[in-house]
Amino acid sequence: MASTQSEDTVPVSAPEDRRRRFVSAAPDAVVDEQIDTKDPVQTRRKRAIIITSAMGVVSLLCLVAAAGFAGGQGETSEETKAEIFALQEGIQLAEAKTEALPDTAHAERGLMAALASADMVAQLQNDYRSLTPSVAADGGALDEDAAMSTRRNLIPYFAQTEDPAVFTPWYLLASDANVPLGIGIPMSFDSGFEWIAQVPSTINDDGTISVVWLAVQKHSPEGVTPAVLAWARADYDIIRKTFANVEVGTTAMGNRLGQEVEG
């Protein structure tokens, strides 16, 4: 500094310096000030970016999950499943039956066997008729000893799954109780009805032959067909050579005129 400067002169540079310092320090100061003054805006911007990003990530996850789940839980109803199963079963059954259909020779032999067996069963059931007097006298009880041989002879004609009731008398006529036993052998018993086997000459598509037995009145008024008092039906299996699915029934008239047999 020039010493010649008087003390009166205020160094002009001071404020300028300050100003300059202010000025030179301005950028930092300004930035600081800007951060300070515009801080809330910047913060909000940052916050908005964070929120947006978070939402974006969650959206992305949801879309991925949605894509993953869509179509993955397809289920059909119970009825649809049942329908499909039934159709498949039907196909298997039809194919199995076709496969198992006997050839002509087997079928013919089977028919002859069915006829012979059905006639035998009718004959054996007819043998039971001569027991009617004793059954009536015993109040419906069947004499087991007397019935023994007929029962034993019936058994081989039926499938083992059949109810034992199949081997007991299918029907007895009450009025037979008064018929004299004659010479004691079943065939000479003059019963009021008889079992007749009906065997068709056709075979079912499952290889069985359906047989019907009818218990028919022996005597009936002129011009009137003899009444059916009872009936029985069964399916003859040509391979096993036995009757199965036996069904026995009495008609209303048959029941009225029938002799009850206990167990």
């Binding site: 911007r45 916050r47 970016i49 929120i51 939402m55 974006g56 959206s59 949801c62 879309l63 999950a65 949605a66 894509a67 993953g68 789940f69 869509a70 993955g72 839980q73 059909t76 649809t80 499909i84 159709l87 039907g90 196909i91 039809a94 039956k97 259909l101 050839d103 002509t104 079928a107 013919e108 028919l111 799954t161 109810d163 009731a165 009906q198 065997v199 068709p200 000459s201 056709t202 075979i203 598509d205 019907v212 011009g223 009137v224 067909t225 009444a227 059916v228 009936w231 029985a232 039906r233 036996v246 069904e247 026995v248 029934g249 009495t250 008609t251 209303a252 008239m253 029941n255 009225r256």
Partner: protein, 234 residues
């Protein structure tokens, strides 16, 4: 400058708003995917499968019918087509026997009607003189209670083929329509014959006894619950 400024000013709202819309859409998509579980697509696939299986079944059954008919023809000359038609005739006969009671027609009128309609029936036929009155009594028609019965099953077997005459025996189950109650069932044994012209040449109907009826109903009820063979009944 104006738009840019505007965007800048509302930038935050735009960002958050846009993201919110996107999020809402995604959540909705996820919810839909979870709840609808693609049943429609699966059912459509099932329908196609059912269509294919049905066709296969029809073919299999047709093959069986053809083979069976060939066999029948060879061993007995039985015309299975005719048997099928005859069973339909038998069903119609049965229904015309039981229907008058349901329609409140008097017994006498019913007997006249059936006698006229079927040559096989005459005034002395048991079907008219015994079956019809029995049927009217059993179904309570006499007391003005003309109940309607529907045929729920008709199990027919061919029992005889004599030349061109076919004879059948069938067991029919008739259920009372009103209550659909098993206790109001009746069974009828029907024997009938047909000739080559399709005429019914013999008709014999018998009502099954109540004892038999009860036994059959019980046996069929058991069958519904298990797959055991039919129980014989006396």
């Amino acid at each position: 400058m104006g738009v840019a400024d505007g965007l800048r000013t509302h930038a935050n709202k735009l960002m958050i708003g846009g993201a919110a819309v996107l999020l809402a859409g995604s959540v909705f998509a996820l919810g839909t995917a979870l709840t609808t579980d693609g049943t429609a697509a699966a059912e459509a696939d099932a329908d196609v499968l059912i269509g294919q299986l049905t066709e296969t079944l029809e073919t299999a059954e047709a093959t069986l019918a053809t083979e069976h008919a060939k066999l029948s023809d060879t061993i007995s000359g039985a015309d299975l087509q005719r048997v099928t038609e005859d069973i339909v005739r038998g069903r119609s006969v049965l229904l015309s026997l039981v229907e008058p009671a349901g329609s409140q027609r008097s017994l006498h009128d019913a007997q006249l009607l059936l006698d006229t309609r079927y040559e096989a029936l005459t005034p002395t036929s048991r079907t008219l003189t015994e079956f019809l009155p029995t049927w009217y009594d059993a179904t309570g028609t006499g007391q003005g209670n003309g109940a309607i019965y529907e045929l729920t099953s008709f199990d027919v077997d061919v029992t005889q083929i004599a030349g061109l005459d076919y004879t059948y025996v069938g067991v029919a189950r008739l259920d009372r329509v009103e209550d659909g109650n098993a206790n109001r069932s009746e069974f009828v044994l029907l024997s009938f014959s047909t000739n080559a012209d399709g005429d019914v040449t013999a008709i014999d109907a018998y009502r099954a006894s109540s004892t038999t009826r009860d036994a059959f109903v019980a046996a069929f009820a058991d069958d519904d619950q298990s797959t055991s063979a039919d129980e014989p009944s006396n």
